[in-house]
């Protein structure tokens, strides 16, 4: 029997509870964040720059520790240690310039001492997933920004992660490459049965990609509201033209304005005649 993607049991993958983060120097980055992410979800953290969304993502990755509260991965824990795989995609491609695309993508496997033959085979299939099969021997500098980003995604996928964390991965790309990569990412999420946490400040990107959007506001960062983008897969380029897509974008836009308005209001009151 064919099991549809993401139809497996709804277990919690990320559980953040009452998370606070105060950086050295007293900057309060996050306040009282509670967020649960289920297996197979595509959750976007949407907010203005400096709202702490990247900080939250780095905490989920374990690169930062919360000042108080807890972030747990697979807390239900019916999953073995070997299946607790997560991968991180940075804002920049973050490739090593001294080695080929193939070498870059193989890095996570090399670090965990996967045998050469098996690693090379995995690299080839990861490159195929992102459409870079022809470019394994190329050096990063020979690729365009969009292709470098694909290589970076291939490096994340090569370990067959269950949780993919992405920190504004397409923020530095032109609109056209970005739209194409968004579509491909949505496909990859569906086919590879991934759970994705995606940081962005683009409303359009968040609506197109996500099953759920957590709208954040800044200083200190909080989650204003979570919104389920209740639209079926596949979402094609036509979806971007629909009235429903526009309606989602307006709703998120209004929520973001509310967040920044709350922040601005004390000042505007003071300046009122």
């Amino acid at each position: 029997m064919l099991t549809p993607a993401h139809a497996h049991e709804r277990s919690v993958v990320v559980s953040a509870h009452a998370v606070e983060k105060v950086f050295a120097g007293g900057v309060r980055a996050l306040r009282n964040i509670t967020l649960d992410i289920q297996n197979g979800e595509f959750v976007s953290l949407l907010g203005p720059s400096g709202c702490g969304k990247s900080t939250l993502l780095r905490m989920i990755a374990g690169l930062l520790a919360p000042t108080s509260g807890s972030v747990r991965l697979w807390p239900g824990d019916n999953i073995g240690e070997t299946d607790r795989r997560l991968a991180f995609v940075f804002q920049q491609p973050t490739l090593m310039p001294w080695t080929s695309v193939h070498g870059n993508v193989r890095l996570p496997l090399d670090l965990t001492r996967v045998a050469r033959d098996r690693a090379d085979a995995q690299v080839r299939s990861a490159l195929e997933l992102v459409g870079l099969s022809e470019f394994g021997q190329a050096y990063p500098r020979q690729l365009s920004g969009g292709m470098q980003m694909r290589a970076s995604i291939a490096r994340a996928l090569v370990t067959q992660p269950r949780l993919l964390l992405m920190d504004e991965p397409f923020g530095a790309l032109d609109e056209i490459s970005r739209g194409r990569l968004d579509s491909e990412l949505r496909e990859l999420w569906h086919r590879q049965e991934l759970t994705v946490v995606f940081v962005t400040h683009s409303i359009y990107e968040a609506v197109f990609l996500s099953t759920r959007v957590a709208v954040m506001s800044g200083r200190p960062g909080t989650i204003l509201q979570e919104l389920d983008i209740d639209e079926p897969h596949p979402r094609t380029d036509e979806f971007r033209m629909t009235e429903r897509y526009g309606a989602w974008c307006r709703r998120l836009s209004a929520l973001l304005a509310l967040g920044s308005g709350a922040e601005e209001s004390p000042r505007s009151v003071r300046h009122a005649p």
Binding site: A61, L63, F90, M96, P97, T99, L107, L111, R141
Partner: protein
Amino acid sequence: MNVRAMRYTAPALVGLIVLVVWHALVTGYEVPSYLVPSPLLVGRTLIQDWGLLFASLLVTLRIALLALMLAVVLGVVIAFVFVQSRVIETSLLPYAVLLQVTPIVAIAPLIIIWVKEPTPALVICATIVALFPVISNTSIGLRSVDPNLLDLFHLNRATRLQVLIRLRIPSALPYFFAGLRVSGGLALIGAVVAEFVAGTGGTASGLAYQILQAGLQLNIPRLFAALFLITAAGVAIFAVISLAARLALRGWHESELTAER
């Protein structure tokens, strides 16, 4: 003329013009050869005294190259130690700087007195001169790692050794070679200066010794010929190091990319 050809022909042309003007002035004003010899005379002396001068060149070159190797080994090891912890670096760096700013002519006599054998004494002097650029560049290089790449390594549970070999060393290579280029010249300068200080108490056979002797005997053409050999040796060392840098960084580092893009 294309750019590549010009890279060699243009400086060669300048050199040729200088030599011709030099020759014309010296012969035109009948400058005696014990003040300024003509380039032709210097060339003739170089050929005549080749046996003597070449033997001296080998002595000096040997000291310079030994010192350079020692400086590379010591410098890289010290840089590795420095980047292990900020405490180690901040406690030791001032002394590395101290070594760098102390004029070698001032400490060479001491070293020559302390170390009885002339060759090791000269090598030590030249090493002290050549050491600092390797330490400082390599340790900056080992620290100049893309922080995101470092995160990536940590996410994949890389060991300290894996981070060093797969990330820090490749990141440091361009910096290391920049330091090596400076140190190559400094090793030669250090060797010559140390020979000068040692004087007849030294190996009594290096190029500096030939310059001293030629000066005392007013054999100015030979002095010029020896000077030319030192310069040529310095250029050769620089060229070899540049070639090594090109081979190591070719294809990925901006400093060694050609204009193909």
